[in-house]
């Protein structure tokens, strides 16, 4: 079974389309309005930074865009598909095919080697091993050699892990690269290398969304969306 997406054919459709989106977390002490009638539109090929202080609703927004969570109200379309109408399996498939995640803590699977980490989403999608050499090519592109590719994540440095994570995010050729503080756990130099890599990916035509609180990172994006108290500031 092939779980490939059909989103890419509709080129005029924005990759992210949020209209009047709210997210309410019901708590015993009262409902928390994490996203307050938010409207955002991100076109294909954009390089967007979503910025805001902690508690601004930034993470909640990221979870909505990443298909990990669904809004309480409003319309959220990812590559044209309304995620509020999707089943858990469809949402999972959306994350597999349409979104490439890059996390602050790298989030590689500790039991798998670097190579297998990159291959993992490929196997989930294609139900077979990669015989096209795509995994090796992506690893080479991010600067991970064959010897390093055999190592487990714990045996790699933070920078190397994040490179592997980028290769993993790209393996299923996603519509959106979603980066959550991608340099947050790296030193300045390594962080700069990772940012250069993401900028290069954008230059190749990919949609890159970076969520960060670091203004220097945000400045490297084409467009910045500022979030405060669950609303778009500018």
């Amino acid at each position: 079974m092939n779980r490939s997406s059909d989103g890419r054919t509709m080129t005029t459709v924005p990759v992210i389309e949020m209209a009047d989106v709210s997210k309410i977390y019901p708590l015993p002490s009262g409902d928390v309005l994490a996203l307050d009638h938010l409207s955002i539109r991100i076109e294909r090929g954009e390089f967007v930074a979503i910025m805001g202080p902690s508690g601004s609703g930034k993470s909640t927004l990221l979870n909505q865009i990443g298909g990990l969570d669904v809004p309480t109200s409003g319309i959220l379309r990812i590559t044209g598909r309304n995620i509020r109408k999707m089943s858990d399996d469809s949402l999972t498939d959306l994350r597999l095919n349409t979104i490439g995640y890059i996390f602050q803590k790298f989030n590689l699977i500790p039991l798998l080697s670097a190579y297998e980490n990159v291959e993992y989403p490929y196997i989930l999608k294609h139900r077979c091993n990669d015989t096209t050499g795509r995994v090796s090519k992506l690893l080479a592109d991010v600067g991970i050699n064959k010897r390093m590719a055999k190592h487990k994540p714990a045996e790699l440095s933070g920078g190397q892990q994040q490179r592997v994570a980028i290769a993993r995010a790209l393996i299923n050729d996603p519509d959106i690269l979603l980066c959550d503080e991608p340099t947050g756990n790296l030193d300045t130099k390594t962080g700069a290398q990772i940012m250069a890599m993401l900028t290069a990916l954008h230059d190749q035509g990919r949609t890159v969304i970076i969520v960060t609180h670091d203004p220097s990172i945000g400045a490297q994006a084409e467009r910045t969306i500022r979030i405060k108290d669950g609303k778009v500031e500018s």
Binding site: N63, G66, L68, D69, D88, D89, T92, D93, R95, L96, N97, Y101, F103, N107, L108, I109, P110, L111, L112, E116, E119, Y120, P121, I123, L124, K125, R127, C128, N129, R168, N172
Partner: protein, 403 residues
Amino acid sequence: MKKDIILQISVRSIRLNFLRSLLAAIGIVIGVVAISSMGMMGANMTMSVTEELSAMANVLVVKPDSGGGGGGMMGGGGSSSDDDYIDKDQFDDIERAAGKYGNVYPLYQESDTIKIGDEERRATIYGMRDEDMATILTVANGTLPQTSNAVVVGPTFAENNDLTIGSRITIGDEDDEEAIIQKVRVVGILEEKGMSMDLNSDNAIIMTEKAYTGLYGGEGEYDQVNVILYDIDDADTATEAIEDQLNRKEDEVQVQDSSRMMESITSTVSTLTTFVMAIAGISLLVAATSIFNVMMMSVTERIREIGILRSIGTRKSEVLRMFIYEAVILGLVGAIIGAIMSVILGWLVVLAMVGTTKYFFTFASLIYVPVSMAIGIVICIVSGVYPAWRAANLDPIEALRSD
């Protein structure tokens, strides 16, 4: 090449926590060994007992119907009340009805006081026709009695009373003035026969018909008639034939079929086996708890990993599968080691408890190995279901946040 990455992760998780997983699997090993060796012991015991009993189960014992329908199964009632006997005509009828199915012979039986040296005690005394003695009895030492003052004794009886060829026994109560006293001499000691329905010759005095009727009278008034069947499968047919012949108008005799006793003993053994296996099954319950515990630990430790897997596109069902695999692997490893060990230990248990392993490598015995393996694996899967379900249904956002 097709590769199940989900299975790979399960295998690696087990390898990573090798010791913990091994300890959990040992629980299953013990459970499987306990159940299968107990089962095998029961099966071997049943087969062994069945064979031993079938040697003596080929006997029909015909007794006069005492009206109450009672009468001990073991044929050792001992009292021959004046009215309760099988007469010569009835014996002829029995022989006519059952003669073609087996060897029919009549038996006199009495329990009487005897005196050996100065010691008085009671003993079972049988009277047999000369021709029956020749076919039924086997003498280990000496000869069969020919005269009225000669007897043969069973080996147990001889041993208990220090009797040898030539020993003297006084039959009859010397204090009872009405009793007839007869002094007899032991001319033969019988071979050991083992437990038997028809004639417990091992612990008895056996004399000729003439000697017996001389002592107790009642010639032609037999206490029981035995049919030693040529083929045990004829038991029902022969029983019916005898009952048709004699019990047409009223119940003159009752026929005791010793294969019934065998059935009841076999069923007792299998009930016991089931009971012991159920106790052994408790060890599997303990194993289930430890598997459950290990699985819960595995899930708790890997919450973050589950979050990662879910966020990058692993379906709930795939996470579920990952943890079920883990339980299945633990179960399989435990069951396979358990199976190997239960063949070894089972063999030893059977040797120790049953005394023979000649039935060990039979289907009825070895079937307990795959059965207990299956039980072990199923228990593992059942204990893994809840932890796996929990893992699959974790909120990926919450899971990612955990450390």
